[in-house]
Assembly symmetry: C2
Homo-oligomer: 314 residues x 2
């Protein structure tokens, strides 16, 4: 049977799945550490693929989801800040040389968008936006039934739009991006800055304040914690209004860890979105949904993308 | 011979062109006033079409460029603020009923983007952004060789992204949009506000300060006028950086009246773009160009769009 191998590469784990033509669910699945004594991350990727390589099926191709910028034309990982040494890594070339099958690599949020579009919350939508909100804020866009990649593949860096050119510092080093306001890190940085400036909170004294702890405090009605999530929702509303004006989609999907606290930001997000959208028409046909595929979204999306790309080159 | 009629409808004039299959340039051209005693704008549109209707050729379809939001699926002009009474006007239905040929209507900036893409500064680019900067700031996008319209057709309201949520009032009524900073109106409003707050300038005392007069003063080294154009360029750099992160295009084209003063904002625009872009890769394969088609861009783009749409329905 025809088989397809997909990977979801993170700073901590490499997850690897084996798909067969006939079913949507992976028939095999492995998870190994990204970091191991005496091995580079690319050696770990090769190990993961070897482990899952099927004896009885013919592997048609490999596709990897990477947390960073990828030149999808050449298969080069341009920069993946969480993976040691991954700057201008000729990923597709190296893996293809090892396994002698077609290899594709793409941004993890974009492949997640494809996963939700084909198999999750966005089935049937021709114009769809997906946002993953966790440590950072990434995204993907489906435009007229095709994934938006741009010339090199570095489109939809969705967290990196300026909402306030005198706003907080973003993880990318620029100022006032959507990610700096509405990601988990943005929420944490806001709370830390408010504590430093003397604001009272039950969070004071904690060693390392994480977004999840702020969420717990918010559910206990800590005013600073509540304000932090409201602020994230407010700026997310501005950002999504911008994206509605740009794309006029029928579906917006939110995934990532911060969606587990969506009860804390959804009300202010909706208020802000309604206040900032040009025209109620942008909201009329719009579904706003939570992602449905969970942790496997990248692996599923990579499988869909892989099959599409193999079709295109065949 | 097969003939195509296109219109570019503005608040002052309706311009109308007749194209034949065999050549790119219109073979006939008319310009009439949009406003006339005892006639609605839609009656004027019908007059313009009747005037140019060819005796010897078979008209295959009509396409109109409108300065406003259009539901391209139904051919309804949702809102065109500069044309009296144009809110929810069933444009395509009315014109089709009169002339019994297929009728299409779309946003003027989007059709201009198509014109520049097919026949102007953007030929050959698969991923292209077009911005028209005049009284307002509009745009269009070509994504993987297809024009981005969104679900209803109200995508690429490119001037209406928030750059500073505490910034100046935009023409749309919202706060701190790109248009509020970098359009002609944005430049004028900045100068007026600075004069009101007591800043010295040779522009003081003029009855109605227009962007073109500010440009003249800037060329005479008036400090306020220079600052006004620099500010427009600075925020345009932020806005275009956002759009590069979203679309990763190979070509950005600027059209519209404010490009006649591009010498006054281009330096600061380039500085700001370089400062705000995530990664120099976004600029490496990028051409930034001025529009080439002049006043006919909407008519030419409408003709290209019309032929494409007739192909799709045939």
């Amino acid at each position: 049977m025809d088989a397809y191998i997909t990977l979801d590469i993170g700073g901590t784990n490499i997850r690897c799945a084996l798909f067969l033509d006939v079913q949507d669910e992976p028939v095999d699945y492995r998870k190994i550490d990204t970091v191991a004594e005496g091995q580079t991350p690319i050696m770990r990727v090769i190990s993961a693929i070897k482990e899952i390589w099927p004896a009885k099926h013919k592997v048609k191709g490999i596709c990897a989801a990477v947390p960073g910028s990828v030149n999808v034309k050449t298969g080069t990982v341009l920069l993946a800040p969480n993976i040691a040494g991954w700057k201008n890594v000729e990923f597709a070339w190296i893996i293809k040389d090892e396994f002698q099958v077609p290899v594709f690599v793409n941004n993890d949020a974009r492949l997640a968008a494809i996963g939700e579009w084909k198999k999750g919350a966005g089935i049937g939508h021709e114009n769809l936006l997906y946002f993953t909100i966790s440590t950072g804020l990434g995204g993907g866009a489906i435009v007229h039934n095709r994934v938006l990649e741009g010339d090199l593949g570095i489109a939809t860096e969705s967290g990196h739009i300026t909402l306030d050119d005198e706003g907080p510092l973003c993880g990318c080093g620029k100022i006032g991006h959507l990610e700096a306001f509405s990601s988990g890190t943005g929420i944490e940085n806001f709370v830390k800055a408010q504590l430093t400036s003397g604001v009272d909170s039950t969070l004071r004294g904690l060693d390392d304040i994480r977004a999840s702890e702020i969420a717990l405090a918010a559910r206990e009605a800590d005013a600073l914690a509540v304000a932090a999530y409201n602020r994230a929702g407010y700026y997310l509303g501005i950002g999504i209004a911008n994206y509605l004006h740009i794309f006029n989609p029928t579906c917006v999907i939110f995934g990532g860890g911060v969606t587990q606290s969506s009860d804390l930001w959804m009300l202010e997000f909706n208020r802000s979105l309604e206040a900032h959208v040009l025209n109620p028409l942008y909201l009329e046909n719009l579904e706003i949904k939570m992602a449905e595929l969970g942790d496997n979204v990248g692996l599923v999306g990579a499988n869909e993308y892989l099959k599409e790309m193999l079709n295109r080159i065949s």
